[in-house]
Symmetry: C2
């Protein structure tokens, strides 16, 4: 039996189903999916790391279907929204807007004791929600109990004065099980990379089609950073308004390549 | 007017009084105090950093009174209790024991929602206190609002089932003003490096005479780390039981030197 070592250090039994789902989700054309599956299975050995499997996938896609690679690496792309947490707050806010929430990022609310900066305040149907957007840029990190605890204490301090009905924690990593247990017990909502089933951050990003610009493999790291600093977080923004690319230096050919890639990775599968 | 730039980046007007208090506190013999004050004042210029002043003091003490140097660098010695926070938890526990508290470090308590590891549980006169011991090993860091918020949420979760009456935050750095405001509002106790006046961590360490072994200038970094890993945190432990030094390799002469230094730095001023 072949085991896979995850970024957290945990081990699980290799599942061809899981790999297939992940390949499908990445928008790899049907014609290539089987070929890719065979490519990976040939390279498996016991205790292979997820990052090695990931490398084999991207190697395969690089030669056979370059743009699918940018779509596959969604998790890495969200990690690349750092180093600060601002772009992730903007990103969470945009996801909620696709669900018809009105949002404000980094609002200062007075609590009973002190003033708090709330990462995202979201409102829909007269219900107001405060959201703690917790960003980590290290793969394998888990969001720990402290974060949901301080979210609760902050919620307790602001809810009355600001008519806040719910508190959510949204994070781009997994969480420890304590975090989920405490949240369920205290009636707080947690959206992590893989939780809850069907409503996880990955699910929400995929449903909304809001791929971050950091998914691009054509733009350089510096160019992405420049765009993020100008609050350009979504490839949709570039797709809707290509003149945004004037913010970075690109020759005519590279610019076409970026736009063509962006066009592909913004399309829902 | 001469300004001093602190480790936090904040600036304040130089105060000869403050310098004198700090020299006195370090246990520098009276005969040397004036000489040292003059030594420093000659070297002042506008926007000098506290770390530069500190360097001038240790340079002076190195040549004139070597052992006083180990006593002066209390703040640095506590920072050197890292990199993990365990030694600091042990240290806080020891300080409370000198005040006749019974203490347990790293106890797991069941809360209403989940189990929590509490850094120190202290008990005296039928009053039980949970203590969050927050250690930073970077000078200029301040303990931020999150820490007192999660301390509050943790307290709320454990207090009923465990008959806990108070929650304290003890930290080796300063805190932001928010931390103090929130704590006063929520009836939590904060003991930081310099707060509250007369009962700060610095005051408690000085009153208790519990100098950490990291104050030694004779022991090497590795030797101190070995002792810390064996839960030897206080130079008093070595002074009371010199055979503890068998844990590290020292020739006869060096061993004498360590014991003589430890003898000096364990003596209250």
């Amino acid at each position: 039996m072949i085991h896979v070592v995850k970024a957290t250090g945990e081990t699980e039994v290799f599942s061809a189903d899981k790999l297939q789902r992940s390949i499908h989700r990445a928008g790899v054309p049907d014609s290539l999916q089987n070929q890719l599956l065979i490519h990976i299975q040939k390279r498996l050995y016991d205790n292979i790391t997820t990052s090695e499997i990931y490398r084999h996938i991207t190697e395969f896609l690089e030669t056979s279907h370059p743009f699918a690679k940018s779509k596959y690496n969604l998790k890495q792309a969200i990690m690349a929204l750092g180093p600060s947490g601002y772009a992730f707050e903007d990103f969470v806010s945009e996801i909620l807007r696709t669900q018809e929430y009105q949002t404000v990022v980094r609002a200062t609310l007075n609590g009973n004791c002190i003033a708090h900066e709330i990462d995202v305040v979201a409102e829909k149907d007269n219900k107001r929600i405060m959201i703690e957007a917790k960003f980590h840029n290290l793969s394998g990190t888990k969001t720990k109990i402290h974060v949901i605890l301080y979210t609760k204490a902050r919620f307790d301090d602001v809810k009355q004065k600001n008519n806040i009905h719910e508190a959510w924690l949204v994070t781009n990593t997994k969480t420890t099980t304590d975090v989920i247990d405490y949240a369920l017990c205290m009636n707080l909502k947690v959206i992590s990379w893989s939780y809850p089933e069907g409503g996880s951050l990955r699910d929400l990003v995929e449903k909304s089609g809001l791929t971050p610009i950091t998914s691009s493999t054509v733009l350089s790291l510096n160019q992405k950073q420049t765009l993020l600093e100008n609050h350009i977080v979504l490839c949709r923004d570039i797709s809707n308004n290509p003149s945004i690319l004037d913010l970075v230096v690109l020759d005519e050919e590279k610019r076409k390549e970026v736009l063509s890639e962006i066009q592909f990775i913004c399309t829902k599968t």
